[in-house]
């Protein structure tokens, strides 16, 4: 009889450690993914089965997604969301970049105070100023029932985006800017020709955050558009969808999937851009 060769104690504990870590990893992965799985499975059930404790659909009703898609209004909510998130993101980037550039690279009195004010604005709950803002948009400009009260302010710089862009621009060495200035570029040209290409990863990150913010926003559309369903966004419409189909959990879950899916898709595409951007800045030193 030959005894199995005793493995060195170090290797054995390393193996046990590996197993323990990965078992925990799988458990955590289940916690994070099972909710998605249950939502998708329920979205494919019949309305009767969705009210039972079953986990797997008896008949896979892919038609549920068509039913949701054909719900009156659903397409309009999509269009509104894309307008709010798309146009809002463009306006935010265009208006925030010069501000962030000035706060990062210009020397002037009151710069630190300005940065502190930006941080304060960033931390301010939107509810603090909503009463005067609502009165301003609704009573003075008569724009309630539209998304403009949410989109127009983005043309005037968003505090979070300014802050994040400034942090990013601080990492660009001044020598690049000085070189451009010596070549006779004005500040605007320096910003567009030198800073903009180098800041692309930072801009991508800000655009992504802003897009998600608008996509997810519930409070804004609730305040300004609740009276006019034609101006609702997906995040706001989704809840009323639940109200109108209060026993059809299958349809509600299908609508939930349709609201979640684009965000997750955008993340997967943008993740690659992020990694590329980070590598690019890395090689540029």
């Amino acid at each position: 009889m030959t005894r199995p060769a005793p493995s060195p104690p170090g290797r054995r504990t390393a193996l046990l450690h590996w197993i323990a870590v990965h078992a925990l990893g799988v458990a955590a992965a289940l916690f994070f993914t099972l909710p998605f799985l249950f939502v998708v499975l329920t979205s494919l059930m019949s309305d009767q089965q969705a009210l039972t404790r079953d986990l797997v659909p008896d008949t896979w009703q892919w038609d549920n997604y068509r039913t949701v898609w054909d719900t009156p209004g659903f397409l309009t909510w999509w269009r509104n969301t894309l307008l709010y998130a798309g146009l809002g993101t463009v306006l935010t980037v265009v208006s925030s970049l010069p501000v962030a550039y000035a706060l990062a690279k210009f020397r002037f009195r009151g710069r630190n105070l300005s940065v502190m004010l930006v941080i304060s604005m960033m931390m301010l709950p939107p509810q603090v100023v909503v009463i005067p803002m609502y009165l301003f948009w609704a009573k003075q400009l008569d724009l309630s029932g539209t998304l403009w009260p949410l989109i127009v302010p983005m043309a005037f710089g968003d505090a979070f985006s300014i802050f994040l862009l400034r942090q990013f621009l601080l990492t660009i060495p001044d020598e690049y800017l000085d070189a451009a200035r010596v070549d006779g570029c004005g500040e605007l040209r320096t910003l567009l020709r030198v800073v903009l290409p180098m800041a692309r990863p930072g801009i991508a990150a800000v655009a992504l955050f802003q897009f998600f913010y608008a996509w997810n926003d519930y409070f804004g559309p609730q305040i300004y558009t609740s009276e006019n369903p034609a101006a609702w966004t997906l995040s706001y419409g989704l809840e009323s969808f639940k109200g109108a189909h209060h026993t059809d959990w299958n349809l509600t879950m299908a609508a939930t999937v349709l609201v979640m899916a684009p965000v997750i898709l955008v993340f997967f595409f943008a993740q690659k851009a992020f990694v590329e951007g980070v590598t690019l800045t890395g090689t540029k030193g």
């Binding site: 870590v21 990965h22 939502v39 404790r53 709950p125 997810n216 609740s226 809840e239 965000v263």
Partner: protein, 314 residues
């Protein structure tokens, strides 16, 4: 160089700075400074959106603090959420961050899976959790009963609605995971090796090497967590609405806080007072309380500015 050209140069650079800052200067005035002053003004007025505001003095303040039945429950809920939800999120986020730095196989897959729930739109995620935690038919309670454990009422039980919201918040812990992961990878390896040579146990290495190194990030996570709690609006409101089975989308009739005021938070009061009761004056009082609390914690955050800058850099 003669002084007058120097002065001219200074003037152009001031003009240039103002030009670059102009979008934000307008935004600061119109969307921050003006409405803040206006909120202060309305907090002293009686105004329902029609007619002329009428001076009411401290009346709105005494109404909110003494007679408005939702103020103190909302403040108590906020305190609960700060103590329990923020703590749980920071501890869990650190745990997941530690775990993910130790996983050596399929690291990218694990990271992405752990991060994804953070991206789920809040309304969609809340709907999903109200369904998953449905006391009668939800899979969570089926599993609990299958294991012979008690099955709570979650979003329909005043004692369990905040723990249910905490579960939802833990599901979306991806933001903290990323921050902690970056901080943990920044701890110099030599310090661990030195500690291991000195015979330190894994717990001692964590306690005396990891924790001191990442403590600024923990402070950052706690303070931003508190600030986020001040803004906590969509999840508790939607959870209450959906769990109560209220029908119709515009929601003007829904009294927030279901069940039994247990999901009320301060931002919901601004909406309830302003847009359901049309008492703009009292709504502005709550807005100012919210402002004072947020700014107090923001000041705390800026005192530990290092953490803020680092985390903004990620």
């Amino acid at each position: 160089m003669p002084t007058h050209t120097l002065r001219a140069k200074h003037r152009t650079s001031t003009l240039r700075t103002l030009a670059f800052l102009s979008p934000w200067l307008v935004g600061f005035g119109v969307f921050f400074a003006y409405p803040l002053v206006s909120t202060l003004y309305f907090s002293l007025m009686r105004y329902d959106g029609f007619g002329v505001p009428e001076f009411r003095g401290a009346g709105n303040w005494t109404y909110v603090f003494q007679d408005y039945p939702m103020f103190w429950p909302a403040l108590r809920n906020t305190l609960w959420l700060v103590l329990v939800m923020v703590t749980c999120r920071v501890v869990f986020g650190l745990g997941i961050g530690l775990l993910v730095t130790r996983i050596k196989t399929a690291t990218g897959v694990f990271r992405t899976l752990f991060y994804l729930p953070y991206l789920a739109p809040p309304v969609a995620a809340t709907l999903a959790f109200v369904f998953l935690l449905n006391p009668g038919t939800g899979p969570v309670n089926s599993a609990l009963e299958g294991l012979g454990l008690p099955a709570p009422g979650w979003f329909t039980d005043a004692a369990w609605s905040k723990p249910a919201l905490t579960a939802l918040a833990l599901w979306g812990v991806g933001d903290l995971m990323v921050i902690f992961m970056a901080a943990l990878l920044d701890v110099p390896k030599e310090q661990y090796e030195a500690a291991a040579l000195d015979g330190a146990s894994p717990w001692q290495r964590f306690r005396f090497v990891t924790l001191p190194a990442i403590s600024p990030i923990i402070l950052f996570a706690v303070v931003t967590g508190v600030i986020q709690t001040m803004q906590y609006y969509t999840q508790p409101l939607v959870a209450g609405k959906v769990a109560s089975g209220v029908i119709g989308g515009s929601g003007q009739q829904f009294e927030p806080g279901y069940p039994d005021k247990s999901t009320l938070t301060l931002p919901q009061l601004v909406h309830n007072l302003g847009f359901q009761r049309f008492d703009y004056g009292a709504a502005c009082v709550v807005a100012l309380v919210l402002f004072a609390l947020s700014m107090a914690f923001t000041a705390l955050l800026m005192r530990s500015r290092g953490g803020l800058i680092q985390a903004g850099d990620r």
